[in-house]
């Protein structure tokens, strides 16, 4: 077995090295692929806090991914058409500034996660799965019927949004930005796992009745985890929309929710780098298998079945064995 930290380090260095190599070789498409993997990883790092740490199998995390996307789409759309987002109760202008867009994306996601969490956490187990799935569909159909912002066709943004001091149109610079955000989220996630909150959340997943009898509220712990989780996935959504300069209802689709879960499973549930490994593997498979066969989802499905039935720890579990205890 290889120490988990070594696996993590190799993954991180590799994720940085590939686009740098592509830069040297002048292959911008590879940089875009790497950016895609980084953004998916960020979305999954978010979900991992709810799913891995909190045991909340949310099949509706595309809601936050999509909200982040639409936050970017709507703000940038108004900025590029010089129309206000709202004039009442006070004037809200569109913007092309990434930090502002991110903040809006995260706030909107937090609010949505709070409401969805409050409703969904009244239930557990399979009800929770189905209800989060249903909320995802609700947003999906809402986006489709919202003609003002493109309905089914979505919204296109002509120029990528700005970040102070960077030229985001240069692929490697945008990659760097996304990579930095992923690192920040991973760091936060690592601290969270060891914090008092993480300890209590971890226990709430395993034995809620115990958490209750030491005087803590397991539902509130899970709700906070769900909100944090939604915020990070929402940020990833804003980046994803900026990567494609396009946002559409498919960001809300239940397949998207399923894919974010797949990233985690491929890599390893509740492992710090599980989402990163999974997202990288997914994008790699998508690229190479997708190039080989139009029907590459068959192979993805088969791989997934094998992992679920025979290799439950995902790739990190295979390489590094069981998770170590904190000390």
């Amino acid at each position: 077995m290889i120490p988990e930290r070594l696996v993590n380090l190799v993954v991180l260095v590799g994720l940085l090295a590939v686009p740098l190599w592509a830069l040297a070789m002048d292959e911008p498409f590879t940089i875009t692929l790497a950016t895609r993997a980084v953004i998916f990883a960020l979305a999954a790092v978010g979900l991992n806090i709810a799913l891995g740490f909190g045991g909340l199998v949310s099949l509706g995390h595309a809601v936050f991914f999509g909200l982040g996307g639409y936050a970017m789409g709507i703000l940038a759309h108004h900025a590029q058409t010089y129309t206000p987002v709202a004039e009442w109760p006070f004037l809200i202008e569109g913007t092309k500034s990434m930090p502002v867009i991110w903040l809006v994306a995260m706030c909107v996601s937090a609010l949505a996660a709070l409401v969805i969490g409050l409703l969904s956490l009244r239930t557990t187990g399979v009800y929770f799965i189905m209800i989060t799935l249903a909320f995802g569909q609700m947003f999906y159909y809402f986006a489709i019927s919202w003609a003002e912002y493109g309905g089914e066709d979505g919204l296109s943004i002509y120029v990528r949004n700005d970040f102070p001091g960077l030229n985001t149109l240069v692929p490697i610079q945008f990659f760097g930005l996304c990579f930095a955000l992923l690192c920040a989220a991973l760091l936060f996630s690592a601290f969270l796992a060891r914090s008092p909150f993480g300890l209590a959340l971890n226990a709430a997943r395993q034995v809620p009745q115990r958490v209750e009898t030491v005087g803590l509220n397991p539902m509130r712990l899970k709700l906070v985890a769900f909100v944090i989780s939604g915020v990070i996935t929402g940020l990833a959504g804003a980046l994803f929309a900026d990567l494609n300069r396009f946002v559409s209802p498919t960001m809300f689709s239940w397949q998207m929710s399923g894919e974010i879960i797949i990233f985690i499973i491929l890599g390893g549930v509740a492992r710090l780098f599980g989402p990163v490994v999974g997202a990288v593997l997914f994008v790699t498979l998508e690229h190479f298998l997708g190039g080989l066969s139009e029907y590459w989802h068959i192979y993805l499905g088969a791989l997934l079945l094998v992992i679920v039935l025979f290799a439950r720890g995902g790739v990190i579990g295979l390489l590094a064995g069981r998770a170590r205890l904190h000390d």
Binding site: S195, N202, T213
Partner: protein
């Protein structure tokens, strides 16, 4: 008579036609061990659930330190000073022994809302947890994964988590179950000393332990308390003998 720490008054709970708890009034006074015994199916678990939260009685009241907590959820009773141990160990099996004890300490502080500093790096919290483990004799095992503990060690950890809460009253649901003769003896002497810190409502099958420890014993049969008294009184009671002790089962 000193004021009771924990009182139930006329507690009743039915499931359909079955009266699981029938007009139960017992109390727990400072410094005592009050044992509740009874044959299987006497309604001990239902009674505990109503005392500790999780099951709301049909009628009657539960009072903790003068506060009516009949309707309160388990966590509010815990915050008010009630610590319980489970009959079947309810521990975070994937976590270390120390982490389980830390959970109790976090509960006692009431503030788990810290997201960045490592929990195990907080010396104040850690010392409280280690102290509790030390007292039940688990100091050596603190870095072990809870799932790897023996059955007896898990029982000890249950008690340690309860200790971390610095409670005003303990409710222990068969802490001796499956401990073996040696383990029971050790826990018996530990509980003997613990009663001066906070009184213990002890639900137990192990009669040797009950008779060795209890200041008072209540006998529960078919949901009713048929007798409450000292060990000597219970031993002498004809009603108890008929209903319970005489029963070869």
């Amino acid at each position: 008579m000193t004021d009771a720490v924990l009182t139930t008054t006329g507690l009743s709970k039915s499931f359909g036609a079955l009266k699981a708890t029938d007009d139960v009034s017992i109390d727990l006074r400072p410094g005592e061990i009050h044992a509740v015994i009874g044959p299987n199916g006497a309604g001990k678990s239902t009674l505990i659930a109503q005392i500790c939260g999780g099951l709301v009685p049909d009628s009657g009241r539960v009072t903790l330190l003068g506060r009516d907590v009949t309707q309160a959820p388990a966590r509010l009773r815990a915050q008010a000073g009630l610590a319980r141990t489970f009959q079947i160990s309810a521990l975070a099996m994937e976590d270390s022994v120390l982490q389980n004890a830390m959970l109790g300490v976090l509960g006692a502080t009431g503030r788990p809302w810290s997201f960045l500093r490592p929990a195990l790096g907080r010396r104040d919290l850690r010392e409280a947890a280690e102290n509790a483990l030390e007292r039940v004799g688990l100091a050596e095992a603190r870095a072990m994964r809870t799932a790897e503990l023996s059955h007896g060690q898990r029982r000890q950890l249950e008690v340690a988590v309860a200790l971390t809460l610095n409670p005003r009253a303990f409710v222990m649901d068969e802490p001796m179950a499956g401990l073996g003769a040696e383990g029971s003896k050790r826990l018996t002497s530990f509980l003997d000393g613990l009663r001066s810190e906070a009184p213990i409502l002890l639900v137990e099958h192990d009669m040797d332990a009950v008779f060795a420890l209890a200041d008072r014993v209540s006998v529960l049969v078919y949901g009713r308390v048929i007798e409450t008294g000292t060990v000597a009184q219970i031993r002498a009671s004809q009603a108890v003998r008929d209903a319970y002790l005489g029963d070869p089962a």
